[in-house]
Amino acid sequence: MTHLVKQKIVAQWVTPTTLHCEFGELDCTVNKALLIGRCRLYLYEHMAIKLADIVPGFNELLVQFIPSEIDYFADLHQVERLLKQYVMDSSATISNNASVSTQGPGKRGITHIPVDFGMDYDLVDVAQRLALSRADLIAQFCAIEFSVILNGFMPGFIYLSGLPDKFHLPRLATPRLKVPAGAVAIADAYCGIYPQRSPGGWHILGVTEHVLFDIDRSTPASFVTGDIIQFYPVMPAVPVITPILTAKIAPKIRSSKEAAGD
């Protein structure tokens, strides 16, 4: 990890109110994302009063200032100094091990998310391409501990890292027009969860009911950079019904589910 310290963090003004801080190349995405996430909090600790927003990226932080608070020269140097200082101080504590995130934003330990693998979107297709059985794919997928890199693209859409190389598949040639809300999907080196119904080009493995973004909560997004997520398979939610009633009601449930699931 020490090689990161040698590499430069370059801050530059890209608009009259936005500072773009580029972090040098690093082999491991998990730790870089973690580092960037914590750098964001560190900047907030030291200069919150001047800031309108800090958007974390995969390789950068976008620091947006309140126009009346800007001091171009001093702020550029302060941000650069704070970032370099933080990276220097924390380079010892962040190791290459993905699961080490006991401090900073990811304090909560592992969040277990239920996934319904029953609705078949791309599961069988992906299993075929990876030369696995359906059950093996689910088992192997649920064994992975994912790290949250960031929320991006839409409110609460989380990018997760930790997908083993053999799971890396290019995006769908033709994006789906409707990806259901809660779709757990993979593409390239990432796993992601769609917080709401939208178009998308990722391979959908299953669907979760876990709420990723709720504007009425004090913290709308459920996850922050550094949180650890593990999936577990569940049966589709079917209400407990006595056997006598089942025959009458079951077809109804199935048809309503089909309608909702498109």
Binding site: T15, P16, I54, G152, G156, F213
Partner: protein, 321 residues
């Protein structure tokens, strides 16, 4: 309560935009034309971030309570119809003017004769819930605006903030205070060679990775704003496509970044842009230049002019003055 009786296109509630929202994947939002947004609030003697309306075409309203408005941005006829002694009186106004409206008045904004959008400032702002310190709403995000991210459409009603009459200038002699009734924007559209509008851009992000030919094409040809532009991004039509580069990872997008997708037609990202984008970026259009760009009609040509960040900062503050 203000009732929108008819509108040609959706009317957006705008303010200074969301704060500290990017890490949740929430768009920044805010006004398309920030100069006009600031100006209407200055005309109304209120905080420059007070919420206002962004209008793109003809619309008419009924004011059920007294209100004071100011319109800026493009140019359109503004008419206020009052009932006095059982007769209807219509007064017409111009943009950049403070207009007092009494309860029961109808006011309408005509077709835009110049520019693409207007900002209607309202004394006291619009009364709508705050999310991330903002009243902006984006339909795809399902929160903010009139509720569920919805803009104002024909038949919708909305409440305004505390009504404060404008015009009491204290003991200032009236000939001074009257000056405020008709403002002129400080920076007029600067037209360069042969009357072509110049849009400044600052080369940054992946600019250095683009080929010399791509960079040359970007600044040497006339471009037009496409009709498919919206608050998310201004799609630009360039007759010679700009050769793009390969970029693998998404990156955080600042206001006004110019993305070059594989088809070589630039997209200038607006206030409702998504937080991250995967296309390579050739530079950013600073706020003051973006204000000019969003007012260009699809048949107006412009040219991108590279400026350094120092120049952009100087012009930004000149425009704010």
């Amino acid at each position: 309560m203000i009732e929108c009786t008819l509108t040609q296109s959706p009317i957006f509630i705008i303010d200074g935009g969301r704060r500290h929202a990017g890490a949740s994947g929430v768009s920044e939002s805010g006004p398309m034309d920030r100069t006009a947004f600031r100006l209407v609030n200055q005309l109304l003697h209120q905080d420059v971030y007070t919420s206002a309306l962004e209008v793109m075409g003809e619309c008419s309203f009924v004011a059920h309570i007294p209100m004071t408005i100011a319109v800026s941005g493009g140019n359109a006829a503004i008419a206020v119809t009052t009932m006095t002694n059982n007769t209807l009186n219509t007064n017409s106004y111009k943009p950049n003017q403070v207009i007092n409206i009494i309860a029961g008045d109808r006011f309408s904004i005509g077709r835009l004769q110049q520019g693409m959008r207007l900002v209607v400032g309202i004394a006291g702002g619009i009364d709508a819930p705050l999310f991330f310190d903002s009243r902006c709403g984006i339909i795809r995000e399902k929160f903010g605006g009139l509720g569920q991210g919805k803009p104002i459409l024909s038949g919708d009603s909305f409440a305004i903030g505390c009504y404060q009459p404008v015009g009491n200038e204290g003991d200032m002699p009236s000939h001074y205070s009257n000056q405020s009734s008709e403002y002129q924007p400080i920076i007029s559209p600067n037209t360069g060679i042969a009357g072509v509008t110049e849009i400044d851009f600052v080369p940054n992000y992946q600019h250095a990775q683009f080929s010399l030919y791509a960079r040359y094409l970007f600044t040497s040809q006339l471009m037009q704003v496409s009709q498919q532009s919206n608050r998310m991004g201004m799609r630009i039509h360039s007759s010679l496509a700009i050769p793009s580069i390969v970029k693998h990872e998404s990156q955080a997008l600042a206001l006004g970044v110019v993305q070059i997708p594989p088809n070589g037609q630039p997209i200038v990202m607006g206030p409702d842009r998504q937080t991250h984008g995967g296309y390579p970026v050739i530079g950013t259009v600073p706020e003051y230049a973006l204000d000019k760009l969003v007012q260009l009609t699809p048949n107006e040509s412009f040219i991108f002019v590279p400026v350094n960040i120092e120049m952009a900062i100087a012009k930004y503050w000149m425009n704010l003055r």
